[in-house]
Amino acid sequence: MLTSILEQTVNGLMAGSVYVLIALGMVLIYGVMHVLNFAHGVLFMLGGYVCHFIFTRVTGSYLLAIVLSMAVLAAIGIALERGVFRPLQGNLRNQVIASLGLILAIEHLVIAVWGPNALQFKVPATSALVPLGELRFPVQHLLVIAVTLTVVAALFIFLRRSKFGTAVRAASQDRQSAMVVGIPVERIDWITFALGTALAALGGALIGPLFLVFPQMGDAPMVKGLAGILLGGMGSVPGAVIGGLLIGVVESLSTLVLPTDYRDSVAFFIMVAILLVRPRGLFGVRVRGED
């Protein structure tokens, strides 16, 4: 029994790392702009498709394909921020509808162009298996973990130690005061959005070779990542990480004791239960101007 619990915990951490990858971009954007971008999931998916395209048609270098796809998605992110989210700032309901519209448009555009079938994204360099006790994981999966940890660490250092990072934190804590002090909040907005979308692309580019690239690949991870963010605390990066991992672990452990067709429900149930006790989430911060 103990081995099963350990095994499922490891499985859950691995699955959770996917949710964290998606959540990072979302929580960053939310923290600064108070915009909840539901379309993040399809941007993650688009990143996977763009990376696959570049890898198979343009360059055989996986690394280069990742970097280029991040750049492409960052550009798309800036366009979205300027064109859609900035004009709708402050209006939660309209932002949500607009992002739903983006989901429809982008997901079906991908289906119209690439077709409904899944694509195989084979990266020979990372398909070997690494044994971990009784379990074996593809190198790609360990790469996902390593990259996620690096990104989280980098974000931490950036936000805490750099001048720009401090400005970002100031803008997210109290936008008005930050403007008064002369912090260029508008520039911070689009840079953060670009960074967030680039992270989404990174996620898609890393997950693609692990499983498959298909139009719905971002849908479930986005909702799970969202649950993770809520669980961890809406503006908090460490919260998003812990929340995402926790959701993954809870899902995997639940298969030991509950009927598996309710696996999704368990994660949401736990999320709601924890929120009822701690409405801000585990690491949530109270932000001025919000209730």
Binding site: E7, P116, Q216, M217, T255, T260
Partner: protein, 379 residues
Amino acid sequence: MRTLVALVLLFPAVVLSQNKVAIGIVTSLSGPMAAPGKFQMNGFRLAEEEINGAGGFAVGGRKHTVELKVQDTRANPAEGASAMQRLATVDKVPLVLGELHSGVAAAEAPIAQDYAVPLILTIPTGPGLTEQGNRFLFRVNANNDQLTAALAEFVAKQGWTPLSFIAWNNDAGRGGVNGMKRLLGETKIGYTGYFNVGEVDFSSHVSNIRAQNARAVMLLMDEEPGSLAIKQLRDAGLKTQLIGTLAMGSDRFLARLDAARLEGMVQYNAFPPNASVPRIKAFSDRYRKKYGEEAHGFAAQSYDGLMLAVAAMQKAGTTTDGAKIRDALAALEHDGVIGRIRFDAKGQASPPVYVTQWCANGSRRVLYPESLKADCGAG
């Protein structure tokens, strides 16, 4: 005088001129099930091409060509009802064929009855569909109960229990699990791992299956998640017996994995494309010629559906009277690509169900029924 003679001579030519008969098709062209929907359409189009290529079919002294009116129902019951309504009252088709989902078919069937337009299903497997006493509903393909009956018999004989599952949490997956549970008995069933369409990480299911020492694992899903599940099972070092669905008995599937991972895996198959049975081989060749790929069971079932629709119209002697066509269908015996098709009192046909197995070299062989047992390369 000369004009009169000319007219009299021309008259038979006018009478024998071609008429178009519109036949309704309901399927998923978009949405998450668009991939299997494509195979369904391929089957219909192949049949349409062959019928029209031969100059059409003859009813009442005239030749008629087939024109397919295709409606996309997107796995939504309300859209299915609308599509059926439109086909019956706007396009005024004499027959409708197809559909992918049981839930949607259940919304289409009552409308078929309302307007006396026979509906011939070629893919949905929900057994409840043919239990509603609807005289205008027919089903060409085997339903879940029939599929699982064949497989359960085979599994029990091989002693492959306890049987575990990794299954789609939809009508296809759940139906398969429930069917096997009913036939084998709860004691022979092990772990049941459900997952949603679109999920790709089976690690928690794999771990549980290993922990329970499952003798065999049944994968109730389509090609894409199937290839991932098998990869993850084999990567985890599990050597359990694998059992799959008809989607996993094709070369297309093999291309996603490799023969080593698939070797020994067994699947129920409505249509083993390389079987040495002449009707199967002939169809596979024609399909490959038109589409450049291996035939799929869904296409074969749909092809037969359109062919027998035409046969029914000919037998009934009408291309417009739905009630007469319905009666013709009820009494029809048609030799299709999938076997002899004859509908029982509930409108259900009983096509043969095969069990095929993957060999080490990437070919397949037929294990069941005993009479059609064949060696590697003919499955």
